[in-house]
Structure formats: structure tokens, C-alpha cells
């Protein structure tokens, strides 16, 4: 039912409404079908075909790409990516939650400034942000220099080209995406609810656990998805900060498409990435529905 349908009985206006819909929505939706939906569906359909001998695709259905994905080598890469993305997400949550909470408690004027300050580094080039960590963590970089200078260590530490460096880079790249949704859900929180809990004798911890936490959980989940998903698919940070020692799904996908030219297998790996995404969004909507359904009684 569009608003035009409510206008009593004029076929002309209904027809006009349909024309308007096509004029406004047609170009954009058409564009997205051509350059987003078809390419993504194409990737999904490649998963069931054989690779060509010199790259490309042979259109014979097969399941060998899926079987190959269960090879221990690839499973370990998947597991590795999962671990790194999870550690990053947990750290982002641990640092992001109190930060978002703190921002929400600032005076309104400072709140805006604090929020802009969170987002600002996010808008600088992603490679530059990663590069900054190469400079920072290098054996001759400022961190090692000041540690040696302070006499805390004698030899520079191996900071760069480690898993820790990859996690630091990912955390740095995506933590604003954790703080913003968290802030949005904390800010919406009605302070009277917490006061009521306190008046009824709940300890601050109990108030947090039973009131604040459940109500801000949707924000925490959205933030976690926003951090986890791009961390999982990232191939630049593992390459530049992990020094090729840390291989993640993103690196595998890139290599299958650009180096090995095994599109079908690369497509299976991309599908794995998409499935994680879908699973996470399903989890998110399940939790949100549960909270909305059972949380208010």
C-alpha cells in the first residue's frame, strides 16, 4: 500500500504512483543488481565448478572445492583468522565499552567532541593507519627506543611481524566501529531505570548486570559484528604487520583470485566469509528479538 493507493478510486493516480516508483527506484536498484547482486551471486555460483587449467572456470559441477576447504592447511588458516578476529573483537569490546560509557557520561558539549575524536582517525587512509604501526612497532621505532632509553630492556623487542602486531593493527583500524553503536545504545538508556534499581537496593554491580548490560547488549553485538567481520576478511594488515607469517582468510582469497587463479576455490573461501557474516547477523537478530520479547516483563 503506497500513499497513492489511499487516494480514493483513481486509476490514473495509481498508474502515476507506479511510474514514479520506477523513475525513482529503477536506476539505483538496477545499478545494484548489475554491479552488486550479480557479482556476488556469480561468486557463489563459481563454488560448484571446476577450475580451468590456466585459470578461468570449467563449467562442470563438482564438490571438490568444498572438500578441499576442509584440508587441514586451510582449516588452520580459517581457525587462525577466527582466533585473531575474536581476540580483536574481545579487546575492542573491553576497551570500547567503558569508553562509550564514559563518553555518554560527559557533558553534552564534550560528548560531541569526544565522538568526533573517535571517528576522526577512522577517516584517514586505511593503509596509512596500518603504516603508522609499522613505524611505531619497528625495532628502531619510538616504542623500542623509549624502552631501551629508559633502561627497561637492553635489546629491542620483536614487536613487528607478530600476531600481536596484527591484532593491534586490526584493533586500531576498527575500534571506532565498536564505540559508535555502543555509545548509541548506552546514550538511549533511561537513567531512571538505573535509579530505580538502586532505590530498590541493587548494588552498582547488580544494576549493571541486570539493567544496563542487557539493554546495551544489542549495541555490543552490532559493534562486535562491525569489528569481527572486516577483521576476518582483512588481508592487508596480516600482510604488512604480520610480515607474511600470519595468513588469514582474506590473504587466501586474494591469492586464489590474483595469484593461483583458482577462482572456484577462492569463491568457496569467500562463501565461508559470507556465511560467518550471515550467522552473526542471525545471532544478532535472535538476541535482539529475545531481549525485546522477554526483557520488558
Amino acid at each position: 500500500m503506497t500513499s497513492a493507493d489511499l487516494v480514493p478510486g483513481r486509476g490514473a493516480s495509481r498508474r502515476r504512483a507506479r511510474v514514479e516508483r520506477v523513475v525513482f527506484l529503477g536506476p539505483g536498484i538496477g545499478y545494484l543488481i548489475a554491479f552488486m547482486a550479480i557479482p556476488v551471486l556469480l561468486i557463489l555460483s563459481l563454488t560448484i565448478f571446476k577450475r580451468g587449467r590456466f585459470g578461468g572456470v570449467v563449467y562442470q559441477p563438482t564438490i571438490e572445492n568444498f572438500i578441499r576447504a576442509f584440508d587441514p592447511i586451510y582449516l588452520s588458516v580459517l581457525g587462525n583468522s577466527l582466533v585473531i578476529a575474536s581476540i580483536t573483537t574481545v579487546l575492542a569490546l573491553a576497551l570500547g565499552y567503558p569508553t562509550a560509557y564514559g563518553i555518554a557520561k560527559l557533558a553534552p558539549k564534550w560528548r560531541t567532541i569526544a565522538l568526533i575524536a573517535v571517528v576522526l582517525p577512522f577517516w584517514t587512509n586505511f593503509l596509512i593507519r596500518t603504516y603508522a604501526w609499522i613505524v611505531l612497532l619497528n625495532s628502531e621505532g619510538p616504542i623500542n627506543k623509549s624502552l631501551v632509553g629508559a633502561g627497561l630492556i637492553h635489546q629491542p623487542l620483536e614487536l613487528l611481524y607478530t600476531r600481536g602486531a596484527v591484532v593491534a593493527g586490526l584493533l586500531y583500524a576498527y575500534i571506532p566501529l565498536m564505540i559508535l553503536p555502543l555509545y548509541a545504545s548506552i546514550e538511549r538508556l533511561d537513567p531512571q531505570l538505573r535509579e530505580a534499581a538502586a532505590n530498590l537496593g541493587a548494588s552498582p554491580w547488580r544494576t549493571f548486570r541486570d539493567v544496563t548490560l542487557p539493554l546495551t547488549l544489542p549495541g555490543a553485538i552490532i559493534g562486535s559484528i562491525f569489528v569481527f567481520v572486516p577483521s576476518m576478511g582483512n588481508f592487508i594488515i596480516p600482510e604488512l604487520l604480520g610480515g607474511g607469517k600470519t595468513v588469514m582468510v582474506g590473504n587466501l582469497i586474494r591469492d586464489q583470485f590474483l595469484k593461483a587463479r583458482d577462482w572456484p576455490f577462492g569463491a568457496v573461501l569467500a562463501l565461508a566469509l559470507i556465511m560467518f557474516l550471515v550467522a552473526l547477523f542471525a545471532l544478532q537478530s535472535w538476541v535482539t528479538r529475545r531481549l525485546n520479547g522477554g526483557g520488558r516483563t
Binding site: 527506484l25 545499478y31 545494484l32 557479482p39 556476488v40 561468486i43 567503558p98 582517525p121 576478511g233 577462492g266
Partner: protein
């Protein structure tokens, strides 16, 4: 202010974490020393080197072409779709479809377009990067413009039509002016995103026309030089200015 108590600690930690790398990078860009790590006095030497680097300048030119083109197309398509979704449709499927590009992992979109374009035998180059950037650019413009449209009164448009203005006149004289701040904010957003976008460009660009992020990628992979620090500082200056400008515009949007 006193209410934040112990929360001061995580707040400080977060901002130190966010800004130390930025500050170090900017300081190092004025380093006279050849080594990107050790300090050799203040100098603008690396900015001069940067200004003479043909690869960087060509990359910058390519990026500006892509960003400008992608912005124009994204604004046109994104505004239309926003008005369409807000005023002429109530399909929640189309709502999510129009926002999907912001959620699809960039690596998936990148390889998808790479495969699609090579299957239909389109040679890769700046045009394909531009096409790809419009996919997410349109979604961002649509999101910003819709937020604004939901605050404007549709009765203005109805009044215009009742007074005999045609659809086209109403759109350009009533709808567009009332959402102008959102359109400009959306345009700035797309322009900045496109300037910085690497992953999708990496898959959809041709070898002879690297965009600036691709040039930076090969520089960073090749090694760390103070020249990259200078380039990084300049780029940060540009992005920061654009973001703050967009922020002011959205604030205008909110207050009107």
C-alpha cells in the same frame, strides 16, 4: 565531569591509542634524517621530495578522477533511491537491498566485480574502479538523504503538486532544496571514502592506472621511507578537513 570517575582511565587509554600513531607519523614527516625512525632535526625536505614524485602525483590524479566521478554518480543515484524509498515505497526488502553494499565485505564485492567484469570482457581501469565505488557510494548517500527526508514534511511536496507544479518541478524546486545539506554531506562522505578506498580498487583497477591508495600500498610494501610519512600527514589533513566540514553540514541538517 566529576561523574565519570574511574571511566577516565579507559577514555584516556582509548584516545592515547587512537592518536599516538597519528602524532608520531606527523612528527616523523618533518624529520630531516633519511631513516624514517631516527630523528635528524626539523625539515620539510620530504614534502619537497613528495611534490616531485611522479608516481604519487599520477596516482593522486587518478584517484581524484575516480572520486569525482563516483561522487557525481552516487549522489544522483543515491538521492533518487532515497526519495523513492522514503516517499514511493514501503518495501522493507528494497530498504535492506539499498543498504546491502555497506554490509557486503569489500573483498567479496571486489572479487565479485573482478570476475563479473572479466567474464563480460570489460578491461579493467579507472572506469571499473569508478563503477565499483558507486556501489557503496550510492548506499551512503541514500542513507544520509533518507535520514534527512524522514525529518522533512511531505505535505510541502503535496502542496506543490496541488498547486499545479509537475512532478519534475516539485522534485527540483521543493524536494531537492529541502534535502540539500544532506546531499552535500553525502557527497563529501562518498568523495572521502572513494579517495581512501583500497581493497575494491585493488581488485578492479587496471595495472597502468593505479589510484593513490594502490601507489601507497606498493610504497609501504617496498619499505618505510620518510616520504610516506609526509604523504600520510597531508592525506590526514585532507580527510580531517573533509570530515569536519561534513560534520558541520550534518549539524546544520539536524538543527534546521
Amino acid at each position: 565531569m566529576t561523574r565519570i570517575g574511574w571511566l577516565r582511565l579507559p577514555l584516556t587509554l582509548t584516545y592515547v591509542f587512537l592518536y599516538v600513531p597519528v602524532v608520531v607519523l606527523v612528527i616523523m614527516s618533518f624529520n630531516a634524517s633519511k631513516s624514517p625512525f631516527s630523528w635528524g632535526g626539523v625539515s620539510t625536505h620530504w614534502y619537497a621530495v613528495l611534490a616531485g614524485d611522479q608516481n604519487v602525483l599520477k596516482g593522486l590524479g587518478n584517484t581524484l578522477v575516480v572520486a569525482a566521478g563516483a561522487t557525481v554518480l552516487s549522489v544522483a543515484l543515491g538521492t533518487l533511491i532515497a526519495v523513492g524509498l522514503q516517499r514511493h515505497s514501503n518495501s522493507s526488502f528494497l530498504d535492506s537491498f539499498a543498504l546491502a553494499p555497506a554490509i557486503v565485505p569489500d573483498i567479496v564485492l571486489g572479487i565479485g566485480l573482478l570476475v563479473f567484469l572479466s567474464l563480460i570482457s570489460v578491461t579493467l581501469g579507472l572506469h571499473s574502479v569508478l563503477l565499483a565505488h558507486v556501489v557503496f557510494g550510492m548506499a551512503f548517500v541514500a542513507a544520509v538523504v533518507r535520514a534527512r527526508l524522514s525529518q522533512t514534511d511531505p505535505s510541502l511536496e503535496e502542496a506543490s503538486r496541488d498547486l499545479g507544479a509537475g512532478q519534475v518541478a516539485t522534485f527540483f524546486r521543493i524536494t531537492v532544496p529541502s534535502i540539500m545539506p544532506a546531499i552535500i554531506a553525502g557527497a563529501l562522505l562518498v568523495f572521502t571514502l572513494s579517495l581512501d578506498e583500497f581493497v575494491i580498487a585493488f581488485f578492479t583497477d587496471g595495472p597502468s592506472t593505479p589510484t593513490l591508495p594502490i601507489v601507497i600500498y606498493s610504497m609501504v610494501r617496498f619499505g618505510v621511507t620518510p616520504e610516506i610519512n609526509a604523504l600520510a600527514s597531508l592525506l590526514m589533513l585532507v580527510s580531517f578537513t573533509a570530515v569536519l566540514a561534513a560534520q558541520r553540514l550534518t549539524r546544520l541538517t539536524d538543527s534546521v
